[in-house]
C-alpha cells in the first residue's frame, strides 16, 4: 500500500515537473519569436517543411473526407427529401469540425512527429549543445521559427482541407448523385455564417496548431538523447497531440456553439 502511495506521489510529481518545464519552454519559445521576425528566411524554411510538405496529405485526405460526407449526407438527407441542402451539411461539418480536427490530427502525425524526431536527434547528436557553445540560443534559432511556422501553417492547412472537402462533396453530390449544383452552392452560401462557422473553425485550428507545435517541439527538446528516447518522444507527440486536439475540440465547441 505504501508502495502504491509512493508510486502515485512520484508519478504525480514527475508529471507536474514536466508540465512546469514545458510551460517554461513555451514562454522561452514565444519570447524567441521576436528574434525570428527580423529573419523571415528562417521562418520560410520551416513553413516549407512544416506546411508545404503537409500539402499533399491534407489535400488528398480532405478530398476523400468530403466525398464520404457527400455520400453519407446524401443518403440521410434524401430520406427527408432534403438532398438540396447537402452543400450546407458538407460545408458546416467541414468548416466547423472536420477541417480543423482532422487536419490537426494529420498535422500531428505528419509534421509533429517529424519535428520531434528532428529536434530529438539534434539533441542526441549534440547539435543543440554545440549551438549553445557557439553562443547561439537553440530555442531562438531552432525552436521558435518552427513553432511560428506551425502556428501559421495549421489554419492554412485546415482551410485547404475544408475547401478541398467541399469540392469533394460537390463532385459526389452533384456529379454522381444528381443534387442540383446551383442548390449545392447557393444553400451553402445562404447558411454558412462567416462569424459562427468560419471564424470559429479558424480559431479552433489556431488553437490546435499552437498545442500540436508546442507538444511536438517540447517532446523533442525534452527527449532522452538516445535512439530509444527519441522514438518514445515521437510516439508521445502523436498520442498527446491527438488527445489534446480531441479534448480541446470538445471544450471549444461547447464554448462556441453552446448557446445556440
Amino acid at each position: 500500500m505504501s508502495q502504491f502511495i509512493q508510486d502515485l506521489g512520484k508519478s504525480t510529481r514527475t508529471s507536474f515537473t514536466k508540465l512546469g518545464r514545458s510551460t517554461y519552454f513555451l514562454l522561452q519559445t514565444i519570447s524567441g519569436i521576436f528574434s525570428v521576425l527580423p529573419r523571415p528566411r528562417l521562418l520560410l524554411n520551416q513553413m516549407y517543411s512544416v506546411g508545404v510538405l503537409s500539402f499533399l496529405i491534407i489535400t488528398i485526405s480532405g478530398l476523400f473526407v468530403g466525398m464520404v460526407l457527400g455520400l453519407q449526407g446524401y443518403y440521410t438527407l434524401s430520406d427527408f427529401g432534403a438532398e438540396e441542402t447537402l452543400g450546407v451539411m458538407v460545408a458546416a461539418s467541414l468548416v466547423r469540425e472536420l477541417g480543423p480536427v482532422v487536419s490537426a490530427l494529420l498535422f500531428a502525425g505528419r509534421a509533429g512527429s517529424a519535428l520531434t524526431a528532428e529536434i530529438g536527434l539534434m539533441k542526441a547528436t549534440e547539435q543543440l549543445s554545440g549551438m549553445e557553445m557557439m553562443a547561439v540560443d537553440p530555442v531562438k534559432r531552432i525552436i521558435s521559427p518552427r513553432f511560428l511556422a506551425g502556428l501559421i501553417s495549421m489554419p492554412l492547412l485546415a482551410g485547404l482541407f475544408s475547401a478541398v472537402g467541399i469540392i469533394g462533396g460537390q463532385i459526389i453530390g452533384s456529379g454522381l448523385l444528381g443534387v442540383d449544383e446551383g442548390a449545392y452552392w447557393s444553400q451553402m452560401q445562404a447558411s454558412i455564417d462567416f462569424h459562427d462557422d468560419i471564424i470559429n473553425g479558424f480559431i479552433k485550428s489556431i488553437v490546435f496548431g499552437f498545442v500540436t507545435s508546442w507538444i511536438a517541439l517540447f517532446e523533442g527538446y525534452d527527449a532522452i538523447p538516445t535512439s530509444e528516447g527519441v522514438s518514445r518522444a515521437t510516439t508521445r507527440t502523436v498520442v498527446n497531440s491527438a488527445f489534446s486536439i480531441l479534448g480541446l475540440d470538445f471544450i471549444l465547441t461547447a464554448l462556441m456553439f453552446g448557446d445556440h
Partner: protein, 275 residues
C-alpha cells in the same frame, strides 16, 4: 583575490570544484589551472567526467560547489548575455563534431559568422574559405555533413570553432575513433593552430600517446580527483601506480579488471536467485 592574480597567466582556473550527478560524485574538490597559450590535456579513463568538465567550463552545467574562472570572469556568476559573450570567445570541438546536418560544410562554418556578425556575404565567403583552407577542406565546401568521414567532420567542426577567432578551444576527445592518418592530421592541426593563432587549448582525451605528443601540461583524473599532473615527461616518470597503469594500459592495477562482485566460487556454486 587569488583569481585576479592568477588570471594573468592562467586563462582558466578551476577552484575546489565539486560536481555530482545523482548520487555519483564526478568531481570531488579539484583545482586545475590552464595557462595562456599552452595546450593542457585532461586525461583519465572513460567515465571520469572529462566531457562534463568542458561543459562546466563552458557554463552549460553548474557545479555543486567551487568556481571556474575564464579570463578572470566567474563563469557561473555571469548573466546570460555575459555568458553568451564569453562563449563567443570560446570554441568547442565536440566528439561527434556536432555539425548541423541540414547545412553544407560551407554554411556550417559560416554559421557563427552569420549569427554573430553583420559582415557582408562576400566577406563571410572569404573568411569561411580561409578557415576551410586551414583545415585542408576548402574543396569539400559543398558537401553535406553525412558525406564526410569522421575525421573530416572533426576538421570542419574545427574550422567552425575557429571561425570567430576565439581565444581558446576546448577539444572533447579529438582523437577517438580516428584512423592513423586523420589522427596525424588532427594532432598536427591542433598543435599548429595553437601556435599560429596564439590560442589556448584544452584537450580532453584518453589517448595517451598522441596527447602526450602535443600537450604542454597534463592532468590525470580518476574518480573525481587529480591523481597526477605535470609535463608529459614528468607524467611518464610518475611513481604513482595509478598513473603508471593508465599510461601503460595494464589490465589490472589500482583500477581493477573486474567490476566489483561477490566471490567468484560462491557465485558459481549458489543456486542462482531468480529475479
Amino acid at each position: 583575490m587569488v583569481n585576479s592574480v592568477s588570471s594573468q597567466d592562467n586563462l582558466v582556473s578551476v577552484r575546489n570544484l565539486t560536481f555530482s550527478r545523482g548520487s555519483k560524485k564526478i568531481f570531488d574538490d579539484i583545482s586545475l589551472d590552464f595557462k595562456r597559450g599552452r595546450i593542457t590535456a585532461i586525461m583519465g579513463p572513460s567515465g571520469t567526467g572529462k566531457t562534463t568538465l568542458l561543459k562546466l567550463i563552458g557554463g552549460q552545467l553548474f557545479p555543486d560547489r567551487g568556481s571556474i574562472f575564464v579570463d578572470g570572469q566567474n563563469v557561473h556568476q555571469l548573466r546570460r548575455s555575459e555568458l553568451y559573450d564569453l562563449r563567443k570567445r570560446l570554441g568547442m570541438l565536440f566528439q561527434s563534431g556536432a555539425l548541423l546536418t541540414d547545412m553544407t560544410v560551407f554554411d556550417n562554418v559560416a554559421f557563427p559568422l552569420r549569427e554573430h556578425t553583420h559582415l557582408p556575404e562576400s566577406m563571410i565567403r572569404t573568411l569561411v574559405l580561409m578557415k576551410l583552407q586551414a583545415v585542408g577542406l576548402r574543396g569539400a565546401r559543398d558537401l553535406m555533413p553525412n558525406e564526410l568521414s569522421g575525421g573530416m567532420s572533426r576538421r570542419v567542426a574545427l574550422a567552425r570553432a575557429i571561425a570567430l577567432d576565439p581565444m581558446m578551444i576546448l577539444y572533447d576527445e579529438p582523437f577517438t575513433g580516428q584512423d592513423p592518418i586523420s589522427m596525424g592530421v588532427l594532432v598536427h592541426l591542433i598543435k599548429s593552430l595553437n601556435n599560429i593563432l596564439g590560442l589556448t587549448s584544452i584537450i580532453v582525451s584518453h589517448d595517451v600517446h598522441d596527447t602526450s605528443a602535443i600537450a604542454d601540461y597534463i592532468y590525470v583524473l580518476s574518480e573525481g580527483r587529480v591523481v597526477g599532473q605535470g609535463t608529459p615527461e614528468e607524467i611518464q616518470q610518475s611513481d604513482s601506480e595509478w598513473v603508471q597503469q593508465f599510461m601503460t594500459g595494464a589490465a589490472d592495477g589500482p583500477v581493477h579488471f573486474h567490476y566489483p562482485a561477490k566471490d567468484y566460487v560462491d557465485d558459481l556454486m549458489s543456486l542462482g536467485k531468480r529475479y
